[in-house]
Point group: C2
Chain length 246, copies 2
């Protein structure tokens, strides 16, 4: 048996999400099926972050075991060959020790959330951004964002279906930057609650619109009550950009 760590890119638009499901094509299922066709045996793939339907990744990390060792570059190329024409690609494969686990060994996750605040709908990036047809003030959002940094009970930004044992998380980075016509939110933490990034972005948007003050964002966090925070931002704007280990 040999274990491989995979660096994975995908456009989440056509997938039901990371996780294999009864109905629809999942990223996990697509890669597992491609790997099985290549190695002739059933394969199970574990990921650092089980992204929702419509969420993208430029730096997802997974691991799988193959019955026999194969050169890592051949693993990458063979899986990519069998993945065609789905929009998912193995950027790199590397043989790793058997104690490596894509999810449990991960020490950090980084997400990018892209907002396009303009009157006209997006044509070029319509499945990659949250289109907000009203003006947003990025400076105000950037002023509010640090209120969420640090170790907190993030119940206000947690999906009802979240399976984490504890709502306590440490948010290491939450930057709001203007990039061209877009406002981008960069979030980093050891791990996130389900929907946490999208829920934080949904509240930051209220700050950007002027409906909330930066203090309102702090109060939403303190309330520890999902109904006190903003709505969940759409999946399409979110990309898992990287996972760190060790």
């Amino acid at each position: 048996m040999a274990r491989y760590r995979l660096l994975i890119e995908y456009d989440g638009t056509p997938f039901v999400g990371w996780q294999r499901q009864e109905r629809g094509v999942s990223v996990q299922g697509a890669i597992e099926d491609a790997a099985a066709r290549f190695c002739g045996a059933a394969v199970t793939l574990f990921a650092a972050g089980r992204t929702d339907a419509g969420v993208h990744a430029s730096g997802q990390v997974g691991h799988l075991d193959l019955p026999r060792p194969v050169p890592a570059d051949r693993v990458r190329d063979a899986i990519n060959f069998h993945l065609k024409p789905l929009p998912v690609s193995i950027l790199a494969a590397e043989e790793v020790d058997e104690d490596f686990h894509a999810r449990f060994s991960a020490t950090g996750r980084a997400y990018l959330y892209r907002i396009l605040p303009r009157r006209a709908p997006p044509a070029l990036d319509r499945h990659r951004v949250w289109w907000v047809p009203v003006p947003l003030d990025p400076d105000r959002m950037a002023e509010a964002a640090p209120r969420l940094l640090g170790h907190h009970d993030f119940t206000s930004f947690r999906a009802a279906c979240c399976q984490a044992k504890s709502p306590l998380k440490t948010l290491d980075r939450l930057d709001v930057v203007r990039v061209g016509a877009e406002i981008q939110v960069i979030a980093e933490a050891r791990s996130f609650l389900h929907h946490q990034v999208r829920n934080m972005v949904g509240s930051l948007k209220l700050v950007g619109e002027g409906k909330w003050s930066p203090d309102d964002l702090a109060r939403a966090l303190e309330a520890r009550d999902r109904t006190k925070a903003g709505p969940t931002a759409p999946a399409a704007g979110l990309t898992l950009t990287g996972v760190t280990y060790g």
Copy 2:
């Protein structure tokens, strides 16, 4: 009668190109049909650059005449409403003098060509980049590119079907820059021959691969012979980013 200048964004992937054709959906046809539904009369749209099938635009400029003056923002919103769900969007509309012509008044065009040189196929930007699965040397490409700058007979980089009267053009900018994993080529001129940018990029790629020297690129230009230059780079990598006037 009132004339409007439109700033237009589109994803060229599903279109047969800018120009209205007997078969398939063109960008021109889509916008003309949307404008006709809004104003109740047939409308003709002129563009600064008639992009080919699969070529994108983030800053195409067009103009059209409406039978009666309408507030410009309403023109933008109404056309966008009728364009749904096609990936084309009017970013801005502005009323202009009747002597404004999107094509003939234009004094500059800017294009971006995106190359992704890596072993793994693109998943996120697969319709927006040229995937080149071999390494390219961007420094070598950047060294060669200036050989094409200035006023030249660009016959070597001209499509057989090009309708321009003269092959003489002045290339004002041809920059090669590394952006993340991509190599991007930025080209600016008053106007270009048909396929000129894609043909220049196709030759620059040969330089990046090491198959051509920078001097070979200069010799290809001097040959004034299409068969002496590299192949045409794919449409998907090309985006018309802007048009200047006056």
